[in-house]
Amino acid sequence: MRLIYIVLATFFCGSTFLHAQQRAAKEADEIAGLRAIGSPANPKVAMNWSRYHDTKQIAQFCADLQKAYPQLVKYESIGKSYEGRDMFVLTISDFSKGHVARKPGMWIDGNIHANELQGSEIAMYTAWYLAENFHSVPFIQELLQDKVFYIAPTINPDSRDYFIHEPNTMHSSRTGRRPFDNDGDGAVAEDLYDDLDGDGHIVMMRRKSKTGRYKVDPENPNRMVIAKPGEAGEYELLGFEGIDNDGDGLVNEDITGTYDPNRDWGWNWQPNYVQNGALYYPGTLPETQAVKEFFFSHKNIAGAQSYHNYGGMILRGPGAAQDEQYYSRADVQVYDALGKVGERMLPGYNYIVIHKDLYTVFGGEIDFIALARGVFTFSNELMTTYKLFNEKAGQGLRQSDEYYEFDKLLLFGDAYVPWKEYDHPQFGKIEIGGAKKNYTRNHPGFLLLEDAHRNAAFTIYHAHHTPKLEVLETDVKPIGGNLFEVNATVWNSRIIPTHSDHDLNYKIERPDHIRLEGAEVITGLRVLDKDFNVTVEQRYKPAQIEVPNIEGMREVRVRWIVKGNPNKAKLIVDSEKGGLLEQPLALK
């Protein structure tokens, strides 16, 4: 019964799919001029990838892409945020081929820190690129036949809208929108930033002062530099735009949510005196709970990427030194194989380890994905000063003058609010000015498209190397009486194993199953060494051999002794992260 449906569905989808392909080819022809390589000539969903989208626009994009490519795209809400916004996940796969929920999966999310906008655009670009190029690029066709992408453009939608629509600095709104009393006075969020000049950007305050240690950079009036030792300064800096709203002598000390959603995950979670930004327990926030539940209900996820900014890094775990014990040499080799290629694909990005090369993180998302779920996970820190002039910067974000120079030469002053006078109720006569909230951490428009493609390509490479299991050979031979020996070899033609070493050590995922159906199995064996006949007998349910792992680029062999000629038998390979494969036991 079910088989008939599958056959019918495959046939039906196949035929409409053919139509769609012809139509796409035809439309492409109708475009005047010449298609640029790597980009769809006439995308069905017209997008401007040189801008940032709020959550309404993201929802619209999801709906449009699904409508344009119903056989490739399905989107769903996996839960609600604290303020009740939907958390959308796009499922991208060739729905006409195989059982999508059993294909090796690649998870991509962005924007967990809401001021780090571009993760969403890059995640959306990936979905868009896959759908729009499916008909013209055979590699993508094969990819979506084998794999499924789960793409969550933003997993912090409340705060994304807050960052976009309300006054913020480039660093604020890293958090979510659940209010907490941050200063212990029993009142919640009572001393916010104040957009004194009402331009939507929270910039810096400075005041003329004889003892101030700052002066204006003669090269660039937007820039404040520290006076040299022995040299008098002209200004003191008073922090970000704001007033003391609650009269406690502090400015902007109780802004909303000073927690960090990326410290709310279920691996090596620590309280906030150990790990600043943590809340009550891992999963205090509905947003992180929803993603965790998605991971537990999608055990096929075999690779993951969580986008952040800033700094040009391809990060892998662990977040804390004491978790180094969970990264075996073999697992690190897998990370290295992928990460080093990433460095090539993403000029200016360095492949590094969080706790060694960045800082210690307890209770972070990628540790949860990598260590609680055993998934090979990267987190790219998007945007780097390298991209400004395509060369390595000498200094860090705060000392560098490259941003000012880049603004002057390529953006023509668009990136800064020029200093202007303001009468402040507590500080008196001051000036306000500085970098706009969408500068420095987030890409300028014309750099966004390029980095979106490079990062999308890296996740596609990552997804491509999730396990692909293939039956390499089978053979059946009579061994006397009415008994037959069946041998099967299954191999994984990609880099990522079905189980990481860490997974094997802690039995995170069940073993892979290689099953013989439709034969009377007397016993079953794992063949560890074919040439010297080293085998392990499996006594419990021998028709379904349990294989602990199928390593990247390696094969496993199994053997059954069966009664009667198994010419009607089927061979099934069933792996949570490696997919489901079913084929008749071909007879020689």
Partner: protein, 537 residues
């Protein structure tokens, strides 16, 4: 389905009784309701279990005013139903105190009781008479990808899961010399040779060499809390605080900042022997020792505890398993946190204890207690059965029924719950309490006023343990002074936070204010009492 539910309810009163004489789940919830009613309120709930059961809280308090509160929690690990019965007994005992002493206690403090944090466990266990730790989540205990494929089985159909011994060369166990039905490990260092293999009653359904390793029983909530959570260990859950019961209790404690201390009736003990101070562990980034001052408080509480429970015999020492509630309550929630099993096997005549070679002291006490009380059903005589996994060997079912080690029949609990009621009353009496002196206003002329307020902690314990000062979301000692529009501070701020105030210590708040009119000062902390004072300048 409907029929099975029907049968379940009809059979429950019969199936639910073991020799423990513990109430059925229905009787238990009814009793909680009755106690809540007696306490003057409706039973309220802190959330729902994984299986959808209400998690009740009984609030013994007078009036709606928030007062420093002691929270008693029981029934976290399903293997300890005695804690549940004890918590309800203590609640009843408190409510039955003489009216005036109860009124005196409740005028200053409140007692809240969550008697069954893990109702799924009690509901399942009491019906099946098999006492397992976890909630109703179906988990893969042996992580082999199959769910509950190898449960323990009642092979001899006597209604309980006991032990199974197989007489076989290479076995590690021998019979206890004084208690024949109890097996202990052979002492090879003394040349003793084992003759039995010992298993839980069951078969090896999945042929992995383990017996009854993957049956019912979900996540043990007392392994699922955040402090020292141990991933991938038995019954600890998919990650810390993965279970609704865990989250409900932590949320409840954060949402009610007046909770000053927690007392856990469970499988642990930091009262007989107080927490100790380890300077190195207390100084690391991840703190794993109570602070010196908090240890002083713990020592005082232990001295009170040992005095009031002296007639209960020697309590067993506890082993920490990680992910437990009691440690989490101190290290992550910032509460004075105490835990006791309430009851433990104890006998007056200890001359026989520890004589048999190989038996651990605790085991001997347990065996002696059973013998003294002639208790039936705790250690069963061995009975031969046929077992498919051991066709060539003699297999017998019998031995110890695990639940009795920590849970006696109901009637044995009374002495212990009376002593623990006394302890709860003493603990309440010693909790922090802030008392405010009348504020002193000194006019300095020209509408300038100095306000001084002195507050004293008249309790023995500090307003909250020192560790709470590190935890952002715990309410701190503070003073908030609200001015009129025409007034301003010449010295002092609207809001000032202070560290915890030790028992017997005092704190001075003062402000210099310019401008006439009334000011409103709120000071204190929820765990020791807050007061709002209006002053006219």
């Amino acid at each position: 389905m409907k029929i099975s539910i029907f049968l379940f309810f009809v059979l429950l009163p019969f199936a639910g009784r073991s020799q423990l004489n513990y109430p059925t789940y229905g009787e238990l919830t009814e009793e909680i309701r009755a106690i809540s009613k007696h306490a003057g309120g409706a039973a309220s709930s802190i959330g729902r279990s994984y299986g959808g059961e209400d998690i009740s809280v009984i609030k013994i308090q007078s009036g709606a005013e928030k007062k420093p509160t002691l929270l008693i929690v029981a029934g976290i690990d399903g293997k300890h139903p005695a804690g549940i019965i004890s918590a309800l007994d203590v609640a009843k005992n408190i409510l039955n105190l003489p009216q005036d002493s109860l009124a005196a206690i409740l005028s200053k403090r409140s007692v809240w009781i969550v008697p069954v944090l893990n109702p799924d466990a009690y509901k399942r266990n009491v019906a099946s008479n098999r006492w397992l730790s976890g909630n109703a989540r179906v988990i893969d205990n042996d992580r082999d990808g199959r769910l509950n494929e190898d449960p323990a089985e009642d092979l001899n159909r006597d209604g309980v899961i006991a032990q199974m011994r197989v007489r076989r060369k290479g076995g590690k166990y021998v019979a206890h010399s004084d208690h024949n039905d109890y097996l202990i490990e052979a002492d090879r260092s003394k040349g003793q040779e084992g003759i039995y293999e010992l298993y839980i009653e069951g078969i090896d359904a999945d042929k992995d060499g383990l017996f009854g390793e993957d049956g019912d029983g979900g996540v043990n909530i007392d392994r699922n809390f955040t402090y020292d959570y141990r991933p991938f260990t038995a019954e600890s859950g998919d990650y810390a605080a993965s279970e609704p019961e865990t989250r409900a209790l932590v949320d409840f404690i954060f949402d009610h900042p007046q909770i000053a201390s927690v007392l856990h009736f469970g499988l642990g003990n930091n009262l007989t022997e107080a927490e100790s101070f380890d300077a190195r562990k207390a100084g690391e980034r991840i703190i794993s020792s109570w602070s010196a001052k908090d240890v002083d408080a713990a020592k005082f509480v232990s001295s009170v505890y040992n005095r009031l429970t002296a007639n209960l015999g020697v309590a067993p020492k506890s082993v920490s398993h990680g992910g437990g509630f009691s440690n989490t309550a101190y290290y992550h929630l910032g509460k004075y946190s105490f835990v006791t099993p309430v009851w433990w096997p104890a006998v007056q005549d200890t001359s026989q204890i520890g004589k048999a070679s190989g038996a651990k002291n605790g085991d001997d006490m347990f065996l002696q207690w059973i013998a003294t009380n002639k208790l039936k059903g705790a250690i069963l005589p061995w009975a031969k059965i046929n077992h498919a996994d051991f066709p060539q060997h003699s297999v017998e079912v019998g031995g110890v029924v695990e639940v009795f080690k920590n849970n006696p029949p109901k009637e044995f609990l009374q002495l212990a719950t009376r002593a623990h009621t006394d302890f709860v009353v003493a603990l309440l009496h010693n909790m922090a309490r802030l008392e405010f002196e009348t504020p002193v206003v000194t006019p300095l002329g020209d509408d300038i006023f100095r306000i001084d307020i002195r507050v004293v902690n008249t309790g023995v314990l500090a307003t909250y343990p020192e560790i709470a000062d590190k935890i952002k979301h715990v309410s701190k000692m503070k003073a908030v002074c609200s001015l009129q529009k025409n007034q301003k501070f010449l010295s002092g701020k609207r809001l000032q936070l202070y560290p915890t105030l030790a028992g017997g210590a005092s704190q001075q708040f003062s402000w210099l204010i310019q401008g006439k009119g009334s000011v409103e000062i709120t000071a204190g902390c929820p765990t020791a009492g807050e007061q709002t004072i209006k002053i006219n300048l």
